[in-house]
Symmetry: C2
DNA sequence: GCATGGTGTTAGATGGGGCTAACTATTAAT
DNA sequence: ATTAATAGTTAGCCCCATCTAACACCATGC
């Protein structure tokens, strides 16, 4: 059984590894991500290695083993189901769910997680649009679309996912009801990356600085072959 | 902020202190209660003391300070509301709720606890019949009645509380639907303390060994002045 | 192809929470 | 009033996760 601290590292490694398409994760990335010093990350990498949760090669980062991935996926599932539950049942906002879920994900039993999933009818995505691993820890593979900055002006786009890394950004977006499922028209894309969008059905222009627009993923629905989404 | 380990000790001290009507709690009691060795308890008592959570006198146990009591009461509230929620919403049995609540009570935010309370309409007792401290951490003072062994044969008694210390006992009782609110007729009280009861409306005799009968508290309803309960 | 900066690791310390072994108070029994 | 038994504490160790300081690797630029 990994400690909750080890769990945090494993989940962080999973997240970075996923973000960079399976690339090895370096100690410094984790140190940054978790806000610890570099030596702390190094030492945890070797602890994880000696518990067979990662394969670690000095000066060259680590990859999760099967066992390590299972631990991480369980946490991701717990986290995303908790977020979904908090949002659905208690009206938590997108920007609020993260911290609560981050604490509880380590301590909730598989049984209670199963209850949450059941109550929610086995959702496949969380409120940010991120996929929820199944009970057997498979990740439903789901198109994420493209970042808003990638679309041409005039396109209509449905939001598929909103990255949950920055609470400030999430708050900005959820205040303007730009959440998964929202349809947006791309009004303009400025050279320095700012995207202005207009939610379909609302007479409003919302400016999204490049940093924000890059955290919002969507799929075009004007001439797309998957209107079904 | 106390660590979760300190929280466990504070809650344990609170529970023993309450059970013994405010008497000082000795290190050995806590060592037993929490399954740690005596020196560990001693050392934690002085840590708690230097953080002003208890007043500790060597060789003479400790009492909670105001601050220590607040910490303990918050945990008790969290614990009991979690138990109530798990039972009410997910069909947990009396014997199952304890562990889940014991882990989560440390990590759930005040906000989420408030949501649970709200969803449950601010219950005043948990599924074992124990009082739930209010949001401002007052303990509603509620008669607990007497242990079943204290009643005369022939009396009809309504169960007010079932002590949650022993999961085996809880399972035995909840399998037989002897839970708070259940009405029982006392069929016999043997000299060695075994009480045989018959749940009102069921044609069944349930034998309760002394150890079990002492964990069930109730009030007589045959000639009582509080049929209202 | 070698110096140099950056990245990463080793060394050594710290604080929390736990343990065993050894010692000291307290209490009870004669 | 002593002493034996029990209860409680101190001493000293360990492991985990963290830190700072010092050192080693590596990938360049020249």
């Amino acid at each position: 059984m990994p400690s909750t601290v080890m769990e945090d590292y494993l989940k962080a490694i999973y997240e970075l590894q996923t973000e960079y398409n399976g690339a090895r994760v370096r100690t410094s990335q984790i140190a940054d991500y978790l806000g610890v010093t570099a030596p702390t990350a190094t030492s945890m990498f070797s602890t994880l290695e000696s518990n067979d949760y990662v394969e670690y090669e000095k000066y060259n980062g680590a990859v999760l083993t099967e066992a390590g991935e299972q631990v991480a996926l369980r946490l991701v599932r717990n986290h995303r189901l908790l977020e979904t539950y908090l949002t659905a049942k208690f009206g938590y906002r997108l920007s609020d769910v993260h911290d609560e879920a981050d604490r509880l994900e380590h301590h909730i039993s598989d049984r209670l997680v199963a209850c949450l999933a059941d109550e929610l009818d086995d959702p496949t995505t969380d409120p940010h649009g991120a996929p929820i691993p199944t009970a057997s820890l498979d990740v439903p593979d789901r198109p994420r679309g493209n970042q808003l900055s990638a679309f041409a002006e005039g396109k209509t786009v449905v939001v598929l996912e909103v990255d949950d890394r920055d609470d400030g950004v999430l708050e900005y977006l959820s205040n303007r009801q730009i959440v998964p499922e929202t349809a947006l028209t791309i009004e303009s894309v400025a050279p320095f990356g700012m995207v202005t969008v207009s939610p379909v059905g609302r007479d409003e222009s919302v400016p999204l600085p490049a940093d924000v627009a890059n955290l919002v993923w969507g799929a075009s629905i004007t001439n797309s072959d998957r209107e079904g989404i």
